[in-house]
Symmetry: C2
Subunit: 309 residues, 2 copies
């Protein structure tokens, strides 16, 4: 398959390597010029278990991409999604399948502004990766992907995408309710990412707080109420159990969530597509979500204090 990875940071690069090694023609597309140039000049360096591999790959800035693709995988961060899609208008003209696995709620709504609903596949993934520097990622562990077409009745190509991902060892499987899966992951991130960033702590330290259950309930009970009003299945208790399972040091306990890394590296956070999305949707549907609204404000305050525009 001819595949574009739009947003080729840590995760996009990892997926790109695996898909290319399985025989697909992959182009990494990213707006970070230093990253693109490093890959063009030296290949992508992948560090795993302390060992470096250099993988020659095609990489380009969005404006320098002139071909079209069978599949576009969007790994752009939620707040850059709209801009990336604008830049890729020409690449979307042949109506490729567009797969989005990025974190956050509301991505599908953004993509629908540029891509016919019947071409969109959405999902979640628990693969992970770190961008160690321009042209350099560090990867650990394995993961999986759950995905579903947004208009299942009109999308007949899902098997081919699942096969392509599985051919690259990415462990993809169709999900029966992708919106519920997206909300479930967003609920987890809206607790762990948000509080670990606010408190500058890792996941185990959050889990050791005497009041982690109150903090979690404040967020997830509002998620459940807003989801219900939006006809999305969301179970606050199931999400709480999932969160509690991350605390063990041999699970994700010693991990600092990606939002914490964004704040530490002076990058804008995804808060508006996590707690902030639920607060806004709650306002629209007249379901109060004051905890999520305040947490959104608090993270934006912290961004301002860190000089993040």
């Amino acid at each position: 398959m001819k595949i574009a990875i739009a947003g080729a940071g840590a995760m996009g690069s990892r997926f790109g390597v695996k898909l290319q090694q399985a025989g697909n023609a992959v182009t990494l597309i990213d707006n970070w010029a230093a990253h693109v140039q490093a890959i063009q000049a030296n290949g992508l360096v992948v560090t795993k278990d302390g060992h470096d591999t250099v993988v020659p790959m095609t990489a380009a800035l969005p404006q320098d991409v002139h071909s079209t693709f069978d599949l576009v995988i969007l790994f752009t961060k939620a707040m850059q999604m709209d801009h990336m899609l604008q830049e890729l208008k020409a690449q979307l003209s042949n109506q490729p399948a567009v797969l989005v696995l990025a974190n956050g709620i509301g991505n599908v709504e953004t993509i629908e502004r540029y891509v016919p609903q019947q071409n969109i596949v959405a999902g979640t993934t628990v693969w992970s990766s770190s961008l160690t520097g321009p042209g350099h990622i560090t990867v650990t562990g394995t993961g999986s992907i759950s995905l579903q077409a947004i208009a299942p009745d009109q999308f007949h190509d899902l098997d081919r995408i699942v096969d392509t991902l599985n051919g690259a060892g990415l462990k993809a499987s169709p999900a029966p309710d992708v919106l519920a899966a997206i909300w479930k992951k967003a609920g987890l991130n809206s607790v762990l990412n948000t509080y670990c960033t606010l408190f500058d702590c890792n996941i185990a330290e959050f889990g050791a707080l005497p009041n982690w259950r109150e903090l979690t309930a404040g967020v997830l009970e509002e998620f459940q109420a807003v989801a219900a009003a939006a006809n999305v299945a969301f179970d606050a208790q199931a999400d709480t159990d999932l969160i509690a399972a991350q605390f063990a040091p041999d699970k994700n306990g010693d991990h600092y969530p990606s939002m914490h890394q964004d704040m530490a590296n002076r990058r804008p956070t995804e808060i508006d597509f996590l707690n902030g999305y639920v607060a806004q949707l709650g306002q629209k549907l007249r379901v109060p979500a004051p905890n999520n609204a305040l947490l959104t404000q608090l993270i934006h305050s912290q961004e301002a204090l860190h000089g993040i525009a």
Copy 2:
């Protein structure tokens, strides 16, 4: 007058010095043994404008006080108020006037468990002081006191207390509605103390946040609703104006509020008597106060992360 200062930290010590220098017999009472011993051994050191003065003063642990007083001024922190009053039962047996100027809401309710209502005077003060070490305070600027008897019809001694305070240069004046004044100061502290602690910033940095008005409104609109249900006058807009007036560097801008100092020095904060009090009272009166409830949780989380029991 024979005056006891119960809770002779930064503020209590400053008041004690001024009242003693005006000719009153003052006893400083405190539970911090090193502080009491330092004053007993060497006097109280007062640093002002870089210049040290040593003031010989009577200081004692609560259990070592055997006399009674005409006036007891409570400067104990809100969370230690109940314990201090228990320890001073013998000193309260002669029914002295009890004046409380400590920060936080709910102090009067605590005092009423030990002192007849008709003996209680409450108020607020904008004097300030820092405890630099055992037996050592550092003072700057001047201040004033607003005070009122809790049962004005039954308390006929207010003039004498006002005169005593003014005789010591403490600029006291009767307030028409002391509860409103206490809530007004608590509203200011529930914004500035709480957010500056949460964000580890000073007052000017809080005031420079693009969303300081949203953060402030979230707290104070709930204050206003709960106050209304409790028949206390509270004007969110007036409190917002008061807060905005603190941002200037030549006002309090470069000041880190006392709660920030408590957190930095690993001492429990007064959050339960600021945002926490309003959240609890709101729950009792069925007026939602989710912002104040969440902020209370967040500060307690931060205390736990700092190892504060």
